[in-house]
């Protein structure tokens, strides 16, 4: 059973990718619909398995580490697998209607989409550093491809910039991996941890961790390494932007977080943790500030991603040399932040796509009067915005609450200020959009009606982000499932 589930998760997406590579856009869409169904079912199945039996290690094809591919299937991983299934399905379904099938290069959308999905699953489940690298590269390359599908010179420019940043990040990460392997002789995170349990910490091994985190931070667009993100996310087609913001940046962050949580305590130091937190804070403030000043709708949303990503890096100071319960709160908070941001940002980009489609322009001030015409998409956008502002009862709020508690618990009150200011700044840019759309225009309405299905999808995502806050305890309880010892170390 587990075998089938694992295979279904990791390899069938590749199969869909190959299948869709052979057909045109419309047939690819049919294949994708089937594929989405399968993927969602499989993800759900794995999630239920873990929720029932607890997490486990899994050696793919019977091979064990170091040469085999070792998977680590725990509550957190399956939650992200499920999240990926939800968000990617939503984006896929949306894209099927949204993307114009007549442009020839659009037929590459589906293969890239599926490569991306399989790469994400690899990252969520991957247990050793190198496989994570491969998964990450798979994600980066397909993401770059998806951005390039915009077709225009701008899109290519953004995608090239993205590609170079991603490659640089990968190499820095890989360098860290090399040093790590040279130091410890293993690629498995669990292996490194058990090695450190026996031996004293070798001098200079912090460098490996620093390199890996830096490379991943570049791929996650942590301030000041964020410059590549807004053009890429802003210029891509809306479903692509949604995928990128919701999932792709999370993949590299997820790896950084795993590294930090396992190795941060022995290899890191306080200054580094605070520095990362500081950069995250700067991202929150600077990203929100820039989001307030963007003339174009999707740029606003993209800069908002920069800001929201900043929150994630508060994980580093809030888990370093603090009590167990504070660390747990911080981890839970960050996890919720990842999930709620994924849902909300996907909803926001998809809704923004609808708004742009109907207003016929990407500019914020072109939205004047759209509230009379397109309240449904606007409402989705608004709901997602509520989550970004981290107002209750959204998941964003639950996340912020836990982070506040963690900051208070560890006495690091300065992060509280960051969170409050960040919340207010995010309100500023979200309300800027509301404001523009509430303005009554004198001229006649000339809006285009997007299909109903385009409007429903972001709404569902936004409602999920909203409901996450109410159900966050349940969600977190699955993540915290005890890890079944017995797989390979």
């Amino acid at each position: 059973m587990t075998l089938w589930l694992m295979a279904g998760l990791l390899f069938t997406p590749l199969a869909w990718a190959v299948l869709t590579l052979l057909t045109d856009f419309s047939r690819g869409r049919l294949v994708t619909w089937g594929g989405i169904l399968v993927q969602v079912l499989v993800s759900l199945g794995l999630w239920l398995t873990v929720a029932r039996d607890g997490g486990f290690h899994y050696g793919l094809g019977g091979w064990q580490a170091p040469l085999g591919i070792e998977l680590r299937v725990d509550g957190l991983a399956v939650t992200f697998v499920l999240l990926t299934a939800v968000v990617a399905s939503a984006c896929g379904l949306h894209a099927g209607v949204y993307i114009d099938p007549d442009k020839p290069w659009h037929r590459y959308f589906w293969p890239l989409f599926w490569f991306l999905w399989s790469g994400l699953n690899v990252v969520w489940l991957g247990g050793d550093l190198f496989n994570l690298y491969v998964g990450l590269e798979l994600i980066s390359l397909s993401a770059v491809g998806l951005v390039a599908l915009g077709g225009k010179a701008n899109a290519l420019r953004a995608s090239l910039r993205y590609l170079l940043a991603a490659l640089l990040g990968s190499l820095v990460y890989l360098l860290g991996v090399a040093l790590m392997y040279g130091q410890f002789g293993t690629l498995s995170i669990a292996g490194v941890v058990s090695w450190l349990g026996v031996h004293p910490v070798p001098a200079g091994s912090g460098l490996a961790l620093a390199l890996m985190v830096t490379g991943l931070a570049l791929k996650t667009a942590l301030f000041p390494l964020h410059r590549w993100l807004p053009p890429a996310h802003g210029i891509a087609r809306s479903p692509v932007s949604a995928l990128l913001s919701a999932l792709v940046v999370k993949a590299s962050f997820y790896m950084a977080a795993r590294l930090w949580l396992e190795l941060g305590e022995p290899l890191g130091n306080l200054a580094a943790a605070q520095l990362v937190g500081l950069l995250g804070s700067a991202a929150v403030v600077w990203g929100s500030w820039l989001a307030c000043r963007q003339p174009q709708l999707k740029q606003v949303v993209a800069y908002s991603s920069v800001a929201q990503i900043g929150y994630l890096f508060l994980l580093f100071p809030l888990t370093y040399s603090v009590s167990e319960s504070v660390s747990l709160q911080a981890q839970q908070g960050i996890t919720l932040q990842v999930i709620s941001h994924a849902l909300a940002k996907a909803a926001m980009f998809l809704a923004a796509g609808n708004l742009i489609l109907s207003a016929g322009s990407n500019r914020v001030d072109a939205l004047t009067g759209v509230s009379r015409f397109l309240p449904f998409s606007l409402f989705s956008f608004g709901l997602a915005g509520v989550s970004l502002m981290s107002l209750p009862p959204t998941g964003g709020f639950a996340a912020k609450w836990l982070l506040l508690q963690a900051s208070l618990g560890s006495g690091q009150w300065w992060w509280i200020l960051v969170m409050l200011i960040g919340g207010l700044l995010s309100a500023a840019y979200v309300f800027r959009i509301y404001r523009a759309s509430f303005l009554e225009s004198a001229g006649p309405d000339r809006f285009y009606h997007p299909a109903r299905s385009l409007e429903v999808i972001p709404m569902i995502l936004a409602l999920l982000a909203l409901g996450l806050g109410l159900a966050s305890d349940q969600v977190l309880s699955v993540m915290a499932l005890p890890f079944e010892e017995g797989g390979s170390p």
């Binding site: 040469l67 491969v134 491809g145 590609l163 090399a178 742009i356 990407n362």
Partner: protein
């Protein structure tokens, strides 16, 4: 001992050169080449460093092989994109193009 350090140092130097090129050069193809140099440096570190534990380690060899495949794929993608970009814009660098007005819907 020294040989492994030598490999590692050489790798580090290559990395440095590549990084410099990647950040400093403006022509896209040069950037791409710099990326490849940097990649080579990383691979060198990877295979070179673990040797001190008595003879070649098979794992890094396998990893580097995979790494090279990934790097080739990336290079290929980059080349495609650079070519297409050059066709559309006539430019070989990523500097901000002269005043792009209203971009229209997407």
């Amino acid at each position: 001992m020294t040989s492994s350090l030598l490999y590692a140092l050489a790798g580090a130097i290559l990395c440095g050169i590549g990084l410099f090129g990647l950040l400093w050069l403006s022509h896209l193809l040069r950037k791409l080449l710099a990326f490849n140099i940097m990649g080579s440096g990383v691979f060198l570190v990877m295979v070179g460093l673990p040797q001190h534990q008595g003879g070649p380690d098979p794992v890094p060899q396998a990893l580097v092989l995979t790494g090279i495949v990934v790097a080739i794929a990336a290079t290929a993608l980059a080349v495609v994109l650079i070519r297409r970009y050059f066709h559309l814009s006539g430019m070989t660098g990523l500097e901000d193009e002269p005043a792009s007005p209203e971009r229209g819907p997407e």
